[in-house]
Symmetry: C2
Subunit: 311 residues, 2 copies
């Protein structure tokens, strides 16, 4: 029987679930509004219910397991969320075991940005490599590191905090206590903040700045040039550190690629001789919001593979 797995993405507004076969084809998908403030018990019940629904739609396939992308730090071994600002009450809650008990199938939790990086490697912009870095540009900046096809977690599940790399040591103060964090200079939030500093008004969002820039507004263009410089400083260091073949960017500001990419590449060329001398690639991620779903679904398939091979 052909194998499939289920990917779950605990997104900001929606809880999304997809059944994906081992070749990466989506067999079924469901999205329901997420009500995280109702607490973990409620959310777990909702996840189980949606998975049951998806499962009932997929006949003739063997379920390998369920992967869940969570916006927070995960203790992978314990299957527990150890820190998640947007999931009240989840800290320490045994998410994995609760769902595993109710579904009777293998559950694997993963940080959502790590899942997105894994998804891009499996079926996205990185499907020709086994080593990549993904930076996710949003309210903040996060990301994931894939080494030899697997997520790098670090000893506490906190690896890949690219948003808090220092790019300008005397730059904007960050809530983390640092100054000049990448996310204070290149996230969607930073773009909006820079737009307000450019006198575009109190209600300025990153989309406002983008619209103005596409219409040729010089100050809006300067904002994206600055974003590119910050990204370039960070990515050049990442290239010098990892020597990976591929670095991907995803998230809300991605449509502005043509506006920030020139200054980004200019900085990277200057700041990384590895980039200047090799075929290192910096590219757009291609799966959008589905990257996390694909990555989550890939987790049980990935862990199942060695068993399948040796059986």
């Amino acid at each position: 029987m052909a194998a499939y797995s289920i990917g779950v993405d605990l997104g900001g507004t929606n809880l999304r679930v997809a059944a994906i076969d081992s070749d990466g084809h989506i067999l079924d998908r469901v999205s329901v509004p997420a009500v995280y403030e109702a607490g973990p018990e409620h959310v777990v019940t909702e996840i189980v219910s949606v998975i049951h629904k998806v499962r009932s739609q997929v006949a003739g396939y063997e379920l390998f397991g369920v992967g869940i992308g969570v916006p927070g730090f995960i203790d992978i071994d314990a299957g527990v969320v150890i820190g998640a600002a947007n999931l009240p009450g989840f800290q320490g809650f045994p998410v994995r075991d609760e769902i595993q008990d109710r579904l009777g199938t293998k559950i694997i939790l993963e940080n959502d940005a790590n899942a997105a990086a894994l998804g891009e490697m499996w079926k996205g912009a990185g499907k020709d490599v086994k080593d990549l870095v993904l930076l996710t540009l949003g309210t903040g900046i996060g990301g994931g590191i894939i080494i030899n096809g697997k997520v790098l977690h670090g000893f506490l599940g906190m690896a890949g905090e690219f948003g808090h790399m220092t790019v300008f040591p005397d730059g904007n103060p960050c809530g983390c206590g640092n100054c000049g964090c990448l996310e204070k200079h290149a996230s969607a939030t930073a773009i909006a903040a820079m737009g307000r500093m450019m006198h575009f008004g109190r209600e300025t969002t990153s989309a406002t700045v983008y619209d103005l820039a596409t219409k040729g507004n010089e100050r809006a263009l300067l904002v994206f040039e600055s974003v590119g410089r910050a990204l370039g400083v960070a990515i050049a260091s990442l290239i010098n550190i990892f020597n990976f073949p591929l670095y991907l960017l995803s998230g809300g500001p991605l449509p502005a690629w043509d506006l920030f990419a020139p200054s980004m590449f200019s900085e990277v060329k200057k700041r990384s001789f590895t980039f200047a001398r090799t075929g290192t690639r910096i590219e757009k991620a291609v799966l959008g919001a589905d990257a996390g779903l694909f990555g989550a679904a890939y987790l049980p398939l990935q862990h199942a593979e060695p068993v399948a091979v040796s059986a």
Copy 2:
């Protein structure tokens, strides 16, 4: 029969060779002056001759292989040096196969800083962990990344170029084309250069600045404070990226630890919430120049291990 392997270190002035058993005990060691300008054929003959000598001293042990730490970029699969400023004529020379043919034993090449990182993990400051970053402070700054007990090479063997991380985007120009590279602000060379800027005279070396600082010279103390700041900016980013339990420093400026560590830790605490909230350690490497020898010797043992287990 107990196993041993031979580690070779192609150091700046000496070619050093040690026979080390699988528990990490040095059975024999030899050091001869290195004459790299005589070309790779000569150096290979010298390596083979010294290994023969060491081998003849070690009776009753089975040789698992030879690891060689080389100051340059290595194509690990091909066993070829692909870039080494201090080894004229080595580029493209089949170092591994030449030595392997003459000795009839398994030879593994490795970058010297990577070998040092591996050595510190095996028998040094990192023997309680499997994941660490080592920064080697010398003429430049290099280093190695150990993930799950193995060296991270990157796709072209260029991983771990910490010396060219940008710490001050508008800082000192570097020969690599960048400005504000870590090694322009924290290497032994940088310490000497800062000393000259502090008017300590043309002949100033990092040792001069160190001597003055230990005598309480304010300007010399400022140099080391600046070194600590640069290291702190870089290490904070490394901690945010890797979330490893351990970051090690080695090299000539290490005796000045007490002079640069306060500003280094102050920067890291400010710039990495991961460091501030977890038990992440930043420590001195302990093996000194022997780290590379231990790491080189560990390479054949490490690769032999799975074979031994399944046999």
